[in-house]
C-alpha cells in the first residue's frame, strides 16, 4: 500500500483520493479506479473495483461509506477493507476466494462535498452541499433521496432539516450517479453494503415499512452470523434486524432502494460506538472497529458465495 499511509487515522478527502490514485497505479492486477460522475460541487465520484480480472462472468458486491458526512469511521473502514484485502490476498484463502469469485465496488466517500465540508468547516455536517433556491439552508440527506417511498415517513420536506429528502428523488448528483451505476449492473451485484455510524447495528430491509422481506431467512441468518463474527473479535455486541423496527422507519434509503432493485442482500451497518464518543470515535478505536467489521463483511460475502 502507500508507504507511510496510516489506516488508523482519519484522512481528508484529498488524502483518500491520492491514496486511491496510488493503489490504481501500483495494484493494477487487482484494482481499477474510475469515476462514475461528479458531485454537486464538481468533485469526482471515485470507485475502486477490486478483484482478479476474469473473462468469466463474476458477481459483485457494492460497498459505500460516508453517505453522511460526519460519520468518519465509515470511510476509515472502506480504506481498511481495501488495505486488508490487498495485504491478505495471498495468505488468506477466504479473501482469495472472495476476490477470485467476486468483484468488489468500493466507494470510500459517497458524499464527497459533505465530507470535505466536515473537515474544513462543520465537523457535524450530515447532508450533501447542494443549494436550495428558496431557502438559505443547504444540503439533502443522501439517505432519504432514493426513489423508494420517497419523502414518506421518516423524511422531511423542509430544506433546513437534517433529513430533508430533496426536491425530487435522485435530485442529488451523487445519488443519481450511484443509482445509475447500480441499475446498470443490478443483475450481477448480489450484495449492497452501506456503512454509517453510530449505533452498533446491522440492519436489513425494510426501512420504510414494517414488513418481512421475501428472503428473510437467508438475510437474517447472514446477519446473525455476521454479528457473531463481530462479537468474536473484541466482545462488542451489535444488534441486528429490519431497520424499521431495530432503528426507526425512514423512507428513501439507499438500502431499501438496492433491495427493491433486485439486490438480494442489502445491509446498512451502524458502526461504533453507542454514544460514549458518538461521531468522535477516537483514532485509537479505528483498528478494533475495522477489524471486527471486516469479519462481518467476510462472513456476509462467504454466505453469498454459498447457495441459500
Amino acid at each position: 500500500s502507500l508507504p507511510g499511509y496510516s489506516y488508523e487515522v482519519y484522512h481528508s478527502l484529498e488524502e483518500i483520493q491520492n491514496w486511491m490514485h496510488h493503489l490504481n497505479k501500483t495494484h493494477s492486477g487487482l484494482i481499477h479506479m474510475f469515476s462514475i460522475g461528479k458531485s454537486y460541487e464538481g468533485r469526482s465520484l471515485f470507485i475502486l473495483k477490486l478483484g482478479r480480472r476474469s473473462r468469466a462472468y463474476k458477481r459483485a458486491v457494492w460497498i459505500d461509506c460516508g453517505i453522511h458526512a460526519r460519520e468518519w469511521i465509515g470511510p476509515a473502514f472502506c480504506q481498511w477493507f481495501v488495505k486488508e484485502v490487498l495485504q491478505t490476498y495471498r495468505s488468506d484463502p477466504a479473501i482469495r476466494k472472495m476476490l477470485n469469485h467476486l468483484y468488489f465496488y468500493i466507494m470510500p466517500v459517497f458524499n464527497v462535498d459533505g465530507y470535505h465540508f466536515s473537515w474544513t468547516n462543520d465537523r457535524f455536517w450530515r447532508k450533501t452541499r447542494s443549494r436550495n433556491s428558496r431557502f438559505r439552508c443547504r444540503g439533502v440527506d443522501a439517505n432519504r433521496n432514493w426513489k423508494v417511498k420517497w419523502c414518506d415517513e421518516g423524511a422531511s420536506f423542509h430544506p433546513c432539516d437534517d433529513t430533508y429528502c430533496g426536491p425530487f428523488p435522485e435530485s442529488e448528483p451523487e445519488v443519481k450517479a450511484v443509482a445509475h451505476f447500480l441499475r446498470k449492473r443490478k443483475k450481477h451485484i448480489r450484495a449492497y453494503l452501506s456503512f454509517h455510524a453510530y449505533a452498533q447495528m446491522l440492519l436489513y430491509p425494510y426501512s420504510y415499512k414494517y414488513a418481512t422481506i421475501p428472503n428473510f431467512s437467508c438475510v437474517e441468518s447472514a446477519a446473525y452470523n455476521a454479528v457473531n463474527a463481530i462479537h468474536s473479535a473484541y466482545g462488542v455486541r451489535y444488534r441486528y434486524g429490519p431497520a424499521s423496527s431495530t432503528l426507526y422507519v425512514s423512507s428513501g434509503s439507499s438500502m431499501d432502494w438496492a433491495y427493491k432493485n433486485g439486490i438480494p442482500y442489502a445491509f446498512a451497518f451502524e458502526l461504533r460506538d453507542t454514544g460514549h464518543f458518538g461521531f468522535l470515535l477516537p483514532e485509537s478505536l479505528i483498528k478494533p472497529t475495522c477489524t471486527e467489521t471486516m469479519l462481518a463483511v467476510k462472513n456476509i460475502t462467504m454466505h453469498l458465495l454459498k447457495k441459500c
Binding site: R123, D141, D162, T163, Y248, G278, F279, L280, S284
Partner: protein, 99 residues
C-alpha cells in the same frame, strides 16, 4: 485549535423521555433551540423511551439545561467538552505541528 476552537464548551447530552408528555416538551426544546441532533436523525422520531443524543452549544447550554430541569427531564452528559474530545481523539493537531 481544530475548527478554530468553535466547539469549546459544547456538550453532548443524552435524554430518554419517560413519558409522551416529556417527549413532546423535548421535541419543542430541540426545535426552539435548533440543536444538532446526534440521534435519532430527526426530531420527529423522539417519543417515549427514545434514546436522544443532543449536541448543545456552549452559549445556549445553560438556558437549555434549565428548561430541561424545569420540565423534569433527566439527562446525562456524554461529552462534557466537545472541543477537548475532538482534540484528544485526533492526530490532526500533531500532524499539523509536524508539518
Amino acid at each position: 485549535y481544530l475548527y478554530n476552537n468553535r466547539y469549546a464548551g459544547d456538550k453532548v447530552i443524552r435524554l430518554v423521555p419517560e413519558t409522551e408528555g416529556k417527549a413532546h416538551v423535548l421535541k419543542n426544546v430541540c426545535h426552539q433551540f435548533k440543536v444538532d441532533l446526534w440521534q435519532p436523525s430527526s426530531i420527529s422520531y423522539i417519543s417515549e423511551g427514545t434514546v436522544t443524543d443532543v449536541h448543545i452549544p456552549q452559549n445556549g447550554s445553560q438556558i437549555l439545561l434549565a428548561f430541561l430541569q424545569q420540565a423534569n427531564i433527566q439527562y446525562t452528559v456524554l461529552i462534557a467538552d466537545l472541543q477537548k474530545t475532538l482534540e484528544k481523539g485526533s492526530s490532526l493537531k500533531a500532524q499539523r505541528k509536524r508539518r
